[in-house]
Symmetry: C2
Subunit: 259 residues, 2 copies
């Protein structure tokens, strides 16, 4: 199934931008009257009939809508410090989108070697990964902020997990999620039961989960202390020594496997 994307939707009619139109009409040779599937990037799949096969700006009539298309029953924000080698970060963004990601928030730590990040390429990557993995929602890619700004910006009632190398008691991601479920923060987590039984959550009911991953040189003690003071739970990703982007993907997978 080939998905297109459009955010230009009005009165049951949508328009594809030049890039999507070219792919639809020139590459895939769709013609007026063909049925195509379009995502709105916010979670809805739109079944459409192509009405104008203009390769620079195709239009289509919406004949059906499926909300929560390819959704997951939680809302995951991954706040990850950009890696020195940006390919590894882009790889993470693509894979996390396939698995289940809602917000990619690049954060710059006190010890980050990379202090700047262009988000355009990331936006293109997560859009194409979302279409490729049949998801109606495209992850939001935020502009980079400092780790301290990010920590301060996260609501108190979210489940907030931080991965760092400092000593001290740490929970597994599963334990942190189970305790959050016990406290009512995570209505849908099923603590190891067959996730296929888990009902699709309404967006409004999706629990907010935040995971914070530091740079190659780890967080500064000040950043770690601030997170702890704001109720972030230190979690362990197991005994393997993982690169930043691998740790981020393992954490996203551990969340995914709990629902």
């Amino acid at each position: 199934m080939e998905l297109f994307y459009s955010c230009d939707i009005e009165d049951g009619v949508l328009r594809l931008d030049a890039e999507e139109s070219g792919h639809c009409v020139r590459v895939l040779r769709h013609r007026a009257g063909d049925e195509i599937c379009v995502i709105d990037g916010c979670g809805t799949l739109l079944r459409c009939v192509l009405t104008d096969a203009d390769p620079k700006g195709a239009t289509a009539q919406i004949i059906g809508r499926e909300s929560g298309f390819g959704s997951h029953p939680y809302r995951l924000t991954m706040a990850v410090c950009p890696t020195k080698n940006i390919d590894r970060y882009e790889w993470f963004a693509e894979k996390a989108t396939e698995i289940g990601l809602d917000v990619l928030a690049p954060v710059i730590g006190d010890r980050s070697e990379r202090k700047v990040l262009k988000t355009e390429r990331l936006e293109r990557l997560v859009k194409s990964a979302a279409k490729q993995s049949l998801k109606g929602a495209i992850p939001e890619v935020r502009e980079p902020v400092s780790v301290k700004e990010f920590i301060a910006s996260v609501p108190d009632d979210a489940v907030k997990m931080i991965c760092y190398c400092f000593e001290g008691e740490k929970k597994s991601v599963r334990e942190a999620l189970s305790e959050a479920a016990g406290s009512g923060l995570l209505p849908h987590v099923r603590k190891g039961q067959n996730r296929q039984e888990v009902p699709a959550a309404q967006p409004c009911a999706s629990p907010d989960i935040y995971i914070l991953i530091g740079p190659e040189g780890d967080f500064s003690p000040e950043e770690a202390a601030l997170a702890l003071s704001r109720g972030w739970i230190p979690v362990t990703l197991g005994n393997s020594r993982l690169r930043t982007e691998t740790a981020a993907l393992v954490a996203a997978t551990m969340v995914y496997s709990e629902f």
Copy 2:
């Protein structure tokens, strides 16, 4: 910590090959008398003193050994059909090594578009990933065999999981491992308790876990039927539509997170 690799070890003395010697002496400028750490690729970390800093063939005296260095309490064989784009397969091999992998067994399915695979690059990748992630053991990379040959070659008493898209009852990886633990196949699986409590298993005690992942076009019905007839457990990796290499890494991570 910088690790070197040597399989040329005799009477407490080891020799680094030309590549490792060059890296040790030319790049890192180690001199005779320096302490270096070397892995034997079979799980042991060797603490050594460099005795001859020959950039083409350095030798070192072993002064300490640490077995089970960076080990995990299970033995995981990932049998994965090579992807059309080999970069994605190499990426999986590198990441799975970081997380925990013992054997990479490329398998060719009836529907595989890629029928041949050179293993030299994969061997170099997993060796460098093992050193980078501080593991004493380097995953074994097997020569490709057909899916049917592979299925027939796996011992009956191993935990064997297959990921396919055919209909029918499927278990989660966690359920499959928990049931295996219940049947005594997996002495170390802890069903969701804090994995930090899990004692490091002796190699001989490590449960044998096999995961089989098909090509982009899935397994053929004959391959799936053969696997079922040989006791392979169909597992689900959740509701997300994952690429071959992503599915393989998610499966490896799901095993990792159970120990």
